[in-house]
Symmetry: C2
Subunit: 267 residues, 2 copies
């Protein structure tokens, strides 16, 4: 599983406060802890007004890269901010994100075309979030045309099929499972990602719903996700699911992560 | 999910001690608690020498039925003991279990033929536990021939495909998933059951593996299971998985079970 550590995000109140007060230690601590928890990428999102977003991102990126070599997921709603921030990164990481909204793809794909940057792509466009599997797959087809145009290999793309809250659904997660399955069928090397905790919005005991969803989504091809890697139960569940799905012979990775204290009782 | 509460079993040391010391309160307490936790059946297994098994079962069954109306899963390795114990039950419940070993089926199927007793059937025979999906499905075919002979409807049968430990597997749970999927394809109304905690034998943090397995097995048709219903996280995960699989419109059952304190923080 490609783990995108979500904790450095200005929309989280304690992080927003740290950004406002220039509290370097809190940011560095989150970067260190997420690295120790086996994050593949550390997401960095300023969540500030756009006029100070680039300078805030530079401050955050310098702090994070001062304490860890883990590559960065450069996270902003603005494609212009993302393009300006990529040169601040010491190594290629993950762009978070593009979609078929506005000119996001046309601004970002040319910049990352001849690099090893990977990219999260959301299946929405200027009409919003499509409400059928067919329409979401049609946005996907448009996106893959653009990727081909800029020679971005599917293996560099993390498709976010857009996970929506379960509580308003009549048929559970069937639609998003259908979308994930079809995408993996068309492009076996593509990654499928998502914000797993969206599923449990408005429900009690959200961590339980998030856990069950993560297992089912992995069964349908999810191999990348943005979540809190310090959630030891969820991390353990991911290792267990990989073993159950036949991706971890004799549970070697599972046992090794347990021994490292990634989940279960700390030694 | 059909929940078979596993806690009244003489092989559990505290229960074995209670049986030896005729500690009625411990048994009654386990019966009450498993009922409150929404068990569909309360499993009763004496795990004593066969010469005192029937009298021990009678003692246990009278105690359990004195405090709860929840039907019983009459659990013994001996078909003769099971046949002798069924009349002690106030209502029809679940026979746990038959298999194609010896004369189990021929002793039990005629007794339950014209009743509403349900039955757990294990996919093993006199050669042991078949090690391929094909052979397990061949035992299943033999079993269903017997069921047809005695007019036992598939909807009264809980097939246990035999869940084995993950730690010695090279391809995860693929084989047992294939068996479950094929059985449900052939008989959509049949139940699929199992001892979910077998999967995690010899692994650390077993509860994590049990949780991930339960979700995947439910996705492949598991709709009955023997486990500890006082494990609130596992119960919550089952409700969440039913909602995710589209079996619980708008999460009504999930929310209601949470409110009853079946899982999550007690109110």
């Amino acid at each position: 599983m490609i783990v995108i550590g979500e904790k450095i995000n200005g929309s989280i109140p304690s992080v927003g406060k740290a950004i406002a007060e220039k509290n370097e230690e809190l940011i560095k601590d989150l970067a260190r802890k997420q690295t120790e928890a086996n994050s593949t990428y550390i997401d960095v999102c300023a969540s500030v007004e756009e006029d100070i977003e680039v300078e805030t991102m530079k401050w955050l990126l310098d702090l994070v890269q001062g304490v860890t070599d883990t590559p960065i997921a450069v996270d902003s709603p603005s494609p212009d901010v993302i393009v300006k921030c990529l040169p601040f990164c010491k190594k290629e990481g993950l762009v978070n994100s593009v979609s078929m909204e506005g000119d996001k793809v046309d601004k970002i794909f040319p910049v990352i075309a001849d690099t090893n940057w990977e990219v999260v792509a959301l299946l929405c466009d200027d009409t919003g979030i499509p409400q059928t599997a067919e329409k979401r797959l049609s946005v996907f087809a448009d996106l893959m045309k653009k990727a081909e145009e800029y020679h971005i290999d599917p293996s560099r793309i993390h498709i976010d099929p857009l996970i929506e809250m379960l509580c308003t659904s009549e048929d559970g997660i069937k639609m998003v499972v259908d979308v994930m399955t079809e995408i993996k069928r068309q492009y076996p090397t593509i990654h499928i990602t998502g914000a797993v905790s969206n599923i449990s919005f408005n429900l009690p005991a959200r961590r339980i719903v998030n856990m069950a969803f993560t297992v089912l989504a992995m069964n349908s091809g999810l191999d990348s996700a943005i979540f809190d890697p310090l959630n030891a139960d969820l991390m353990g569940l991911i290792y267990a699911t990989e073993a159950l799905l036949g991706q971890d012979d004799y549970c070697m990775e599972y046992i090794s992560a347990y021994r490292e204290g990634i989940f279960g009782q700390k030694k």
